[in-house]
Symmetry: C2
Subunit: 335 residues, 2 copies
Amino acid sequence: MKSVERVLKGDRLALARLLTQIENEDASGLEALSALYPHTGHAHRIGITGAPGTGKSSLVNRLALHLRQNGWSEQAEPEAETVAIVAVDPSSPFSGGAFLGDRIRMRDLYGDPGIFIRSMASRGALGGLARATVDMVEVLDAAGFAAILIETVGAGQAEVDIARMAHTVVVVDAPGLGDDVQAIKAGILEIADILVVNKADLPGAENTLRALQLVLELANTAQRTKPDAAARDVAPQPAWVPPVLPTVAIQGDGIVELAQAIHDHREHLDLSGEYAARERARVRTEMEELLRQQLLEGFLMHQPEGAFEAALELVLTKKKAPRQAVREMIEGKKR
Amino acid sequence: MKSVERVLKGDRLALARLLTQIENEDASGLEALSALYPHTGHAHRIGITGAPGTGKSSLVNRLALHLRQNGWSEQAEPEAETVAIVAVDPSSPFSGGAFLGDRIRMRDLYGDPGIFIRSMASRGALGGLARATVDMVEVLDAAGFAAILIETVGAGQAEVDIARMAHTVVVVDAPGLGDDVQAIKAGILEIADILVVNKADLPGAENTLRALQLVLELANTAQRTKPDAAARDVAPQPAWVPPVLPTVAIQGDGIVELAQAIHDHREHLDLSGEYAARERARVRTEMEELLRQQLLEGFLMHQPEGAFEAALELVLTKKKAPRQAVREMIEGKKR
């Protein structure tokens, strides 16, 4: 399989082509993905999420530049890291933000072979987008990028999906976007490993920082007993307390500290054993989803033409309950 | 099946017992559900969602009282409607809000056989909660309640699930909870058929009303081309423009107008043909989910002990890609 070898050797054109194949769920692309899989598991996958207007694209841009130039932490001899950026925009495919973000990135990052940027816009179901993103991140991991930054707009399901595929989740906030302690924030905090208040030079930044700290303190007590931990196969462990970091991305302020915090979080994951636990939970969920999907596809393929529609009609006309209709479809197949 | 007959005859104790069975996924409960299914399809299912602090529990309480006393619209001879309330709290099972809400409701509504209240707290997976809620709403529908109010905390996936099972979705906001035009609001607006600004006597209410109107106007242009319409099997139709209604629930202000708006929306659904389209999309999604779930359960049941765990281990050690491992599990079964 030629494209696999070329991707492993660092051929960027082959990589871009393979990613397009995978985005289109092309069969040969998925085959290449399987061949690449043994080479995965080395990248640090970092999810970066936040509402529009928080400046998270600039933040991602600056973080990528920093990692390219100085690596993770302040050292005497900095070691540059290769970086891939996957920008996922589950909103309109014609989002002005995405285009502008790309242009800003281009200017600083274009031409550096140690950086690879890919934008994905929603084309249909949100579930399909998450699926494609997971697969593309695997390919970028196999291609040898040390850090993969997965950027997405913070809104409901997209965040949950990102939390599932990332090792470290950075949630970006900014002053003036509604600083009150909201339920929605509590939901975001559950997935945040690091909190950033970008645009920290704006008036109100102090309030935003304080509000997030407060919510964190409130959440911290509850977090220790949250049922989610069991569901994610996460063992009890010394708690990681998400830091709240001020940044001014367009000036590069606070980027060193952010890179350091991400590095610290990764160390925490490794030392506490949570890294292995997260990986196990992530892969388990992914396999269950693939199993469900493939079983459904295989089942429907072997159904007589229109069988599902006929069952749907029976349920709509109240002749059968959904569970009953589904059971009969399945049992009919076995006969 | 005795419990089915008793539920159909209006026996509230039998109803409560059946709901508990269904919540516990008890086999005889699910059988009763299938027997009741032909009697469903008459209730107007109304989802009511909003952040904590918006006073949506009081709003639900007042709306239920109004429907009991005056029915849907202001008429010379008002026709009372029977009402069921399902309060879903996907957050902590020890939420103070839920308990307080129940107590307030109790005082006004307890003892009226035309009203039925059921609280559900999260006990594990969010998906399981949504599943149980769908089933319980079916039972309440079969039991003859004209209106079913499904109340939930507005946060991500719970809202999407509620949008799927309700005919009319009411989103509740309040002043002082962050009035800015946020991305998260845009997401909520996509599912809202009616917007309520509760606590409209508080300072800042005018701003909240205006902000929501503005977001609505912005969203309205985009909405006409949103891909979601196709996914939901919704035919092109004269657009419903969600009204923005001020209320002061604890004083009962604006409740008449809210009931009227819900009634109007139901009429719109019927006249535009969207009611049938929503029902079709809802049942289709439900059947696909049941199919996926039952296929997975049936598949895993016939797998040798530990087969899934063994496959998981192969993937974790990078010996196999997830897709490959899953495909081999499925193909192994066929052999």
